[in-house]
C-alpha cells in the first residue's frame, strides 16, 4: 500500500531523527578520534600538537589499562553470571503457583528502578559499612570478624551492588520468556514421565536460549559502562582495584586533564563495545524479519 507519495512522506518524517542521531554520533566521535591523535592537555593550553598514534601506544601499554581491562571483564563476567543464574532461578520460582505473586513480583523488580547513586550509597553505608552496617552486625552475631568490604574486597563489593541492580532485569525478561512456554509441551512431558531436571535441561533451557542471549547482550552494553557505582563508592580505588575502562577514561580526562590520552581510551572503549554491539544488532535484526 506504500504509494510513492507516502514513501516520500515517510522519508521526510524520519529525516529529523536520523539527522540529529547522525550528528550526535559523528561529530563527537570524530572529535574524539581527532583529539586522540593530539598531544592535548587542558593544563597546558595552546600547545596542542599532532602526535599520531602515540596516545594509543601510551594508553595500551600503560599497566593501568590492563588492570582496568581486567577489572572491566571481571565485573561484566561476574555480574552476567550472577544475574543469569540467579535470574533463571528467580524466574522458575515466580512461575510456580504462589500466593501473593503480584506483590512478590513487585519486590523483585524494585531494585531496577533505584538510581545507581542511591543503590551504591545505601549498600556501602547501610549494609556493608564495617562498623554500623547490617552485614557487620550479622557477622559479629555469628561470631565472625566483620568484613571491611570496600577495603578488603573492593571489586567484589562493586560487583555485588551492580548484580543486585541487574538481577531484576534478567529475572523479569526470563520470566516473560518462561511464561510463553507452551502448556501442552509441559503436559506432554509430564505424561511421558520426564523428571524435573531433564525437563529443565531439555525443554526449558533451550526455550530460554534466545531470551538469555538478549539479556547477556543488553546487560553487557550497560555493564561495560558502569560508572556511577564506582564514582560514589570507591572512586576507582583503593589504588586501581575498582577502576574499569570507563572510570579510567573519566579519570584521565576530568581529573588529569589529559584530553589526548583520554580520547584514545574512549576510542578503545568504543571498539570494545562495538564487538558486542555487532552481535546484538544481528540478533535483533533477525528478529525484526520474523
Amino acid at each position: 500500500m506504500a504509494t510513492r507519495q507516502s514513501t516520500f512522506l515517510g522519508r521526510i518524517l524520519a529525516a529529523p531523527s536520523i539527522l540529529v542521531l547522525f550528528l550526535w554520533m559523528i561529530v563527537p566521535l570524530g572529535m574524539t578520534i581527532w583529539f586522540s591523535l593530539l598531544r592535548y592537555n587542558l593544563l597546558d593550553p595552546g600547545n596542542e600538537s599532532f602526535i599520531g598514534a602515540l596516545n594509543y601506544e601510551y594508553f595500551l601499554t600503560d599497566p593501568a589499562f590492563f588492570t582496568a581491562l581486567g577489572n572491566t571483564l571481571l565485573l561484566v563476567g561476574s555480574v552476567l553470571l550472577i544475574t543469569i543464574v540467579g535470574g533463571i532461578l528467580v524466574a522458575l520460582l515466580m512461575d510456580q503457583p504462589i500466593f501473593g505473586q503480584g506483590v512478590v513480583r513487585l519486590f523483585i523488580i524494585a531494585p531496577f528502578f533505584v538510581m545507581p547513586t542511591v543503590s551504591a550509597l545505601v549498600w556501602k553505608n547501610l549494609l556493608m559499612h564495617p562498623v554500623s552496617g547490617l552485614f557487620a552486625w550479622i557477622a559479629t552475631s555469628l561470631g565472625f570478624q566483620p568484613v571491611d568490604w570496600f577495603s578488603n574486597a573492593p571489586l567484589f563489593s562493586v560487583i555485588l551492588i551492580v548484580a543486585w541492580q541487574w538481577l531484576p532485569f534478567a529475572a523479569l525478561i526470563l520470566l516473560t520468556a518462561l511464561q510463553s512456554l507452551d502448556g501442552e509441551q509441559k503436559e506432554a512431558a509430564q505424561m511421558d514421565g520426564v523428571g524435573p531436571f531433564s525437563f529443565f535441561f531439555y525443554i526449558v533451557l533451550p526455550h530460554l536460549a534466545r531470551a538469555i542471549t538478549v539479556v547477556i547482550l543488553i546487560e553487557t552494553i550497560f555493564l561495560l559502562s558502569v560508572f556511577a557505582e564506582i564514582f560514589v563508592t570507591t572512586g576507582g580505588g583503593p589504588g586501581l582495584a575498582t577502576t574499569n575502562i570507563a572510570f579510567l577514561v573519566y579519570a584521565q580526562a576530568l581529573l588529569q586533564y589529559d584530553v589526548g590520552g583520554a580520547s584514545a581510551g574512549g576510542i578503545v572503549a568504543v571498539v570494545l563495545a562495538n564487538i558486542v554491539a555487532a552481535f546484538m544488532v544481528r540478533l535483533i535484526g533477525k528478529n525484526l524479519e520474523a
Binding site: V118, A246, A269
Partner: protein
C-alpha cells in the same frame, strides 16, 4: 488445574516470599533508616522496628540541601528530554511503520547501534563543547544529551507499537476519503496512545536514573537527584538517616511509575526482541 498439590504451593509461596523480601531488603532497610534518629541509624545492634520514629530527617533534608530544587531538576530533565524525544520520534516511527522502504530495517538497526556507543567514547568532546558554549551545569544542555541518548529507544518502542496497528483500518478510512490529518487524529492517535504512554513511562524512568552525564555535566544549578545523592558520598560525618531520607524521596516517585510500567518494560528494554 488442580495438578499442583497444596503442600507444594505453600512451600513455593514461602520460598518465593523469602527470595522476594531478600531482594527487596536493601530498599526496605533504607526506608526504615530514614525514620530513625542519626543515633539509632548508627547503633549496634541495629534497630529493626522498635526505635523512636521521627520525620526530622525529611524536614532537614529539605532545609539544608534544597531537596526540591534537585527534585524539580529531575522532573524537568526527565520529562523535558522525553517530550523532545517524542516530537522527533513520533513522526519517524510513524513514517517507518506505515510507509516502510527498503532501507527502513537498516535505518532502525543503525539507530540502535548509536545507543550502544559507550558514553566515555564521547565524554571528552561533549565536555569541551559544553564548556565552550557555557552549557555545563545547564538544564538545556542536559536535556539535549538525555534526549539524544534515549531517542533510539523511543523510536524503536513506538515503531513496535505502531507496527501492531492493523493496516486494514487505515485503508478503510482512506477509502472513505479521510485525509492524512484526519487519519492521524481520529484513527491512529487513539490506537497509538497506549503505546505512546508506555514509551513515555519507560523513557522518564531511564532519564530519571541516568547517572553518567548527570554526574559529569552538572554540579549544582542543573543537578538532578542522582548528582544530589552522590554528594552524600563525601565522608564528612555519618548522616545515614539523612542519606536514607533523601534517597527514599529520590526513588519513591519512579518506583511507583516503574511498578505500573512493568509489562512494557520487557518489551522496551529488549527492543521488542522479547515480548
Amino acid at each position: 488445574m488442580a495438578v499442583y498439590s497444596v503442600r507444594r504451593q505453600v512451600t513455593m509461596t514461602i520460598l518465593a516470599w523469602i527470595v522476594g523480601l531478600a531482594i527487596f531488603f536493601p530498599i526496605l532497610w533504607m526506608v526504615l533508616t530514614s525514620f530513625k534518629t542519626e543515633l539509632d541509624a548508627f547503633s549496634t545492634p541495629p534497630q529493626f522496628l522498635f526505635f523512636h520514629w521521627t520525620l526530622e530527617n525529611y524536614a532537614e533534608v529539605q532545609e539544608r540541601s534544597h531537596y526540591f530544587h534537585h527534585a524539580l531538576n529531575s522532573i524537568i530533565l526527565s520529562f523535558g528530554s522525553t517530550l523532545v524525544a517524542l516530537l522527533f520520534a513520533i513522526p519517524a516511527a510513524w513514517g517507518m511503520a506505515f510507509s516502510p522502504t527498503k532501507r527502513t530495517r537498516s535505518t532502525l538497526l543503525w539507530m540502535l547501534s548509536t545507543k550502544m556507543m559507550p558514553p566515555v567514547g564521547v565524554l571528552v568532546p561533549i565536555y569541551l563543547i559544553f564548556r565552550d558554549l557555557g552549557m555545563l551545569d545547564s538544564r538545556f544542555g542536559l536535556i539535549m544529551v538525555l534526549f539524544l541518548g534515549n531517542l533510539p529507544i523511543v523510536v524503536w518502542m513506538l515503531y513496535t507499537y505502531f507496527k501492531e496497528i492493523p493496516r486494514d483500518i487505515l485503508e478503510a478510512a482512506r477509502m472513505d476519503g479521510a485525509t492524512i490529518g484526519k487519519e492521524i487524529i481520529y484513527i491512529l492517535a487513539p490506537m497509538a496512545i497506549p503505546g505512546i504512554a508506555s514509551t513515555v513511562l519507560l523513557n522518564v524512568i531511564l532519564a530519571w536514573n541516568e547517572a553518567f552525564w548527570t554526574l559529569n555535566l552538572t554540579t549544582s544549578e542543573a543537578a538532578p537527584l542522582t548528582t544530589f545523592i552522590a554528594s552524600y558520598s563525601s565522608p564528612e560525618g555519618l548522616f545515614w538517616a539523612k542519606l536514607s531520607a533523601a534517597s527514599t524521596l529520590a526513588i519513591a516517585p519512579i518506583m511507583v511509575l516503574g511498578w505500573f510500567s512493568q509489562k512494557q518494560l520487557v518489551r522496551g528494554l529488549t527492543f521488542g526482541a522479547v515480548k
